[in-house]
């Protein structure tokens, strides 16, 4: 050995270090492979593949004759792979390069990237509905725009918007609270789903089955090969019961009539025979809103359903800003102004005298009137409750109820009337008596409530549209509930009294119903006692039915998947001719006259208006109603009119309700008159043409729809408020 041997003990330190490090490695390998393996095993499979969803084409919606009201257009969407822009710097650079090309802003791109709306595992959609040219531009410069891709999407089109927009509905982003539900149904969080109308109720039918492509990918997300592919199954088409031409006509008639009423003076409020100085001398009707329903009372199919204010359902996929949307659809507390409400099914309305036919039914069917249709009563213009002693009447209980005024400031007196007359001239006194006695003579039992409920009041019609209002029928529970909610005073809520039933009998008080409910009730009178479930969809069709021309489906070549045209009976009411005939006769006299003569001739409420109506072609029966509004002021009167045809060839019923528009015979009745005139083919329905492209600068939610020829609205209304 050479001199001065090295100090070998130090080598041992190195050896120890080596032992420690090797042990660490061994233990770690053992731990990973035997202990930690379960947690890590599962993830292996999912990361090796990438699944791209293929959106199915949404089913189309067309009217009863095949006119397409909702269809789809293929659009191209520019997307960007998230991995490319994970680093802030890379993202900024990408936005700088892209925003000009895409015609958007950096902020907007960044918002889309950050948004939780889009699937975080899928590429971010940067801009929808881009041109082929732009796609070519980006594809040619793929090196400058890494990660950019193009996806084919569907864009919903409503060729005839805003016609039938309340019925057809629209698509929207999934609401916060429904996210979980839709996720369970296999929707992406950024999917657009039906949010109104048929688009909402038939979402599951229209949606179709999404397909997918499964790719094997490498760690950079580059596609190596296609593993699996399932083509999407397009959604089924939906055929409405709506006749688009009639629908358009109904909407035009409604809008035109509201416009007319807005230019009409309401009666002056008189005080001691002079104009009341507390109010402006001239007030125009506000006539802000209204709705009309026309349905076939043999089948329950809705032929037209209009609601105003209406909207253009193309706004919802026009990609407008939040401010623009707020400008178009102000979030107003004023019920007159709400737009995204289908008043025909969601309006909660007092009915006034248009409710009387059902009270008449209740009286006849329950045997309340001795002698039935022949029972008479002397109408002296006022009615004093017989069940309440005079002493109490002098205190604070309202005992005396009046008829409407007959022009001269005094309540109308109709003399001796039977039920047919009472309906024809709308005698309140007759119905006050029914209202009192049907209550007091039966031990304060809710007979009236039970009878009118048979027509569907107070229960949903179960129409296939969302957001239907159930309606209310006055009774003890309702009063109690309203008192608890603070809508009426605690004293009021204590019980259900005879006075309530008297109000109930002329359609005032706590009674409320939707126009559709009333239309169904009139239809029940029209068809002789069958309550039908109303519907707006006739059939579900297999996808792919060809078009016969540019915008109409060739129904001959299609396949019906599910036929829903069979009438659905909710209930059959006993309605023998002893019961039905007096009611129908009374209501026919409302249209045709004659009224009653007492002191002078009292015309029926509709007699003058319907003079110009072709009664022989399509005989109808109807009833006006004027619902008192706030403060019982004339300009707060809402106008109602219900009618049904008397022929089996054209079994239609209609109901119109125009808010704050005046007497029933003046505002609502002309609209219904127009619809029946059209059914009688005495008005040429305007042709239905695809609408102009949506004007994004428009400040109203929908373009105006006015009648070309408003002649059918014209006619003298009754001067009696009823």
């Amino acid at each position: 050995m050479p001199n001065n041997p090295p100090k070998r003990s130090r080598v041992a330190i190195l050896g120890t270090v080596a032992l420690i490090l090797m042990s660490v490695l061994t233990v770690r390998v053992w731990f990973l492979q035997t202990v930690d393996v379960e947690g890590l095993q599962e993830r292996v499979r999912e990361v090796r593949t990438r699944t791209v969803k293929l959106t199915p084409e949404r089913g189309r919606i067309f009217d009863i004759r095949g006119r397409v009201v909702a269809t789809n257009e293929r659009i191209l969407t520019i997307t960007l792979d998230r991995r490319i822009i994970q680093r802030d710097l890379a993202r900024q650079q990408m936005w700088d390069r892209l925003y000009g090309v895409l015609g958007t802003t950096i902020q907007e791109l960044e918002n889309r990237f950050q948004s939780k709306r889009y699937n975080q595992l899928q590429p971010v959609p940067l801009k929808e509905d881009v041109s082929e040219d732009l796609v070519m531009f980006l594809r040619e410069r793929a090196e400058d725009y890494p990660g950019i891709d193009v996806r084919e999407d569907w864009h919903r089109e409503y060729p005839y918007a805003p016609v039938a927009s309340h019925v057809v509905g629209f698509l929207g982003a999934i609401k916060e609270g429904e996210l979980e539900m839709y996720r369970n149904l296999g929707y992406d969080p950024d999917a657009r789903v039906g949010q109104f109308g048929v688009e909402q109720t038939y979402e599951s039918v229209l949606r179709g089955e999404p397909g997918f492509v499964k790719y094997e990918v490498n760690s950079r997300g580059r596609i190596l090969r296609q593993l699996d592919r399932r083509e999407p199954i397009p959604g089924n088409d939906v055929q409405l019961t709506i006749d688009l031409q009639m629908q358009q006509f109904a909407e035009q008639a409604l809008q035109t009539q509201l416009r007319v009423r807005q230019r009409t003076e309401a009666p002056t409020v008189l005080k001691d025979g002079e104009p009341d100085p507390a109010y402006p001398p001239i007030t125009y009707y506000k006539a802000p809103a209204g709705s009309v329903v026309l349905l076939n009372h043999a089948t329950g199919e809705v032929k037209a359903m209009a609601s105003y204010p209406n909207f253009d359902n193309r706004w919802f996929n026009a990609g407008i800003t939040g401010e623009k949307f707020a400008q178009l659809f102000p979030n107003t507390k004023d019920p007159d102004g709400s737009i995204l409400v289908n008043r025909a099914i969601s309006g909660r309305y007092n009915l006034g005298s248009s409710f009387k036919p059902f009270v008449a039914y209740a009286a006849l069917a329950s045997g309340q009137l001795p002698g039935g249709a022949d029972y008479t009563l002397r109408d002296e213009g006022t009615y004093k409750l017989e069940s309440i002693p005079d002493e109490r009447c002098q205190l604070n209980v309202k005992c005396v109820f009046k008829n409407a005024n007959c022009g001269n400031g005094a309540p109308c007196k109709y003399g001796r009337v039977h039920i047919e007359d009472a309906l024809a001239v709308s005698s309140d006194v007759f119905f006050y008596k029914i209202g009192e006695q049907i209550f007091t003579e039966r031990g304060n039992t809710p007979v009236l409530e039970q009878e009118v409920r048979k027509f569907g009041f107070g229960s949903p019609t179960e129409i296939d549209l969302p957001y239907e209002f159930v309606g209310t029928v006055p009774n003890r529970e309702l009063k109690k509930r309203l008192a608890e909610a603070g809508a009426i005073s605690k004293d009021e809520g204590r019980g259900f009294y005879v006075g309530d039933n008297v109000q109930f009998s002329i359609g005032q008080g706590l009674l409320s119903a939707t126009p559709l409910q009333v239309a169904v009730a009139y239809a029940t009178l029209g068809n002789g006692g069958t309550v039908l479930r109303p519907k707006v969809v006739r059939a579900i069709w297999a996808p792919g039915t060809p078009l016969s021309n540019k915008s109409t489906i060739d129904l001959q070549k299609g396949v019906v998947v599910q036929d829903m045209s069979t009438p659905e009976l909710v209930r059959v009411l006993p309605m023998e001719s002893e019961i039905r005939d007096p009611i129908v006769k009374g209501l026919t006299r409302v249209i045709n006259g004659p009224g009653v003569s007492f002191d002078f001739y009292h015309a029926t409420t509709g007699e003058k208006l319907f003079q110009s109506y072709p009664k022989r072609v399509l005989p109808i029966a109807g009833k006006t109603g004027t619902a008192q509004g706030f403060g019982n002021l004339p300009w707060n009167d809402s106008s109602a009119f219900g009618a049904f045809s008397l022929t089996d060839a054209q079994p239609y019923s209609a109901f119109a309700y125009l808010e704050k528009s005046g007497f029933g015979s003046r505002a609502a009745a002309p609209v219904v008159k127009c619809l029946f005139t059209a059914l009688a083919k005495r008005v040429k329905l305007p042709a239905i043409v695809p609408s102009d492209p949506l004007d994004l600068n428009m400040v109203t939610p929908a373009a105006e729809q006015m009648m070309e020829n408003p002649l059918c609205l014209v006619g003298a209304g009754s001067s009696v408020r009823d």
Partner: protein, 390 residues
């Protein structure tokens, strides 16, 4: 008839020297040799497995990379035999020359090296590329060991310790600038190993090691080092972070960990690793080769690789203790430290216990420079073993 080679030439030595038990050619450590050879063979198979799918997918010859690796191994064998043939004392005599050449190469690579992944690490010479930092591992060790062996005292004096640090410091600095953090730490570790064995005060060694760690941390925090290196370290410290900018690094490690974990006891079988064959793990054939072993051969495969590594270290350790002089001892200590630290760093990052640094696994990973460098180091150790008697 006699074969001239086997007969003694007149006037050379006493009797048949080649038959002596002390003959260098009779004193090769075959256990070390076989362990290295086995590890290298495993490496060849793993490199093939790890590169095959990508080559097939890009339409290239699936054997392209592994063929190159075999060529590198042939070069490495030549280098090793060359190193073994010359007495390490004489090698030490030329150490300064090698050292200077290495420094020049390290400077040159900064100027004209090929850029890969943001760093200039290698010269691109057409089919092969040369990494001066790997060569530096060999030459720096030689110079340092020689320098320390010159002084035959028990304790390394303060001046000599500082001088040693300067010898190592210059190449470390150049490697850091490239930047190749992993190789720099390997150089530092080797120097510490040699200094430790040479008798430097343990206080100094601990101090320098901590300084290295602290300055590296400071560099990370201070942003001197490149962005991706910072991310690697931050990612190591939060392996479950959700931060988008860390995902790239984290994904590598997660996939590597998963690959090892899902191998289980026996592995999924050769060429049957969905993760390591599916290109999820970048630089699969070099930095993350261990994950391929883990996925395809499981605990058993990992055990074999680690055991072979342990055998190599054990033999080097043994040779260090048997070395006839200080130089031999120091060389072995340096090789021991380098193999140990680099292997630990490489396997550790695959298993998620050390930060991601681009050091290859000795003898196993794909790559010409490090294969040649480490095989040459084995040759150096063999050299010490062969000539331990005279």
């Amino acid at each position: 008839m006699s074969i001239p080679l086997l007969t003694r030439r007149p006037g050379q030595g006493l009797g048949n020297v080649r038959r002596s038990y002390a003959d260098p050619s009779r004193n090769i450590d075959w256990i070390l040799m076989i362990a290295v050879a086995l590890q290298t063979v495993i490496g060849v198979f793993m490199v093939y497995s790890a590169t095959r799918p990508r080559l097939i997918n890009s339409g290239q010859d699936e054997f392209m990379v592994v063929q190159r690796q075999i060529v590198f191994i042939l070069f490495a064998i030549i280098a090793m035999v060359g190193v073994m043939a010359v007495d390490y004392g004489r090698l030490r005599g030329n150490a300064e020359f090698f050292y200077v050449v290495t420094q020049v190469l390290l400077v040159l690579v900064l100027v004209s090296g090929a850029v890969r992944g943001g760093a200039r690490l290698s010269f691109d010479l057409g089919i092969i590329s040369v990494q001066p930092s790997e060569i530096a591992k060999f030459t720096v060790l030689l110079v340092l060991a020689g320098f320390l062996a010159d002084d035959a005292t028990e304790v390394v004096s303060y001046e000599r310790f500082i001088q040693s640090l300067l010898i190592v410091g210059l190449p470390v600095l150049l490697v850091l600038v490239e930047p190749d953090l992993g190789s720099a730490t390997v150089l530092v570790a080797a120097a510490m190993g040699v200094l430790l064995v040479a008798g430097a005060r343990i206080k100094y060694i601990v101090l320098v090691t901590s300084l290295a760690v602290v300055s590296m941390a400071a560099a990370v925090v201070g942003g001197v080092v490149k962005d991706y290196q910072v991310r690697r370290v931050i990612a190591f410290l939060n392996q479950n972070a959700e931060t988008a900018s860390l995902q790239n690094v984290l994904r590598q490690v997660r996939f590597a960990k998963r690959a090892v974990a899902t191998g289980g006891i026996t592995g999924k079988g050769y060429l049957n690793g969905p993760l390591t064959n599916g290109q999820f793990i970048p630089v699969q054939s070099t930095d993350f080769v261990f994950s391929a072993v883990g996925e395809q051969f499981g605990l058993i495969g990992c055990g074999i690789v680690i055991t072979l590594l342990a055998v190599i270290l054990w033999r080097v350790f043994r040779i260090a203790r048997m070395a006839k002089d200080r130089l031999g001892l120091y060389l072995c200590a340096g090789v021991f430290t380098m193999v140990l630290w680099q292997s630990f760093q490489n396997i550790g990052m695959t298993l998620g216990i050390t930060p991601v640094s681009g050091v290859p696994l000795p003898f196993v990973s794909y790559g010409g420079s490090h294969t040649v460098a480490f095989t040459a180091m084995v040759g150096l150790v063999q050299n010490v073993h062969m000539r331990r008697f005279r």
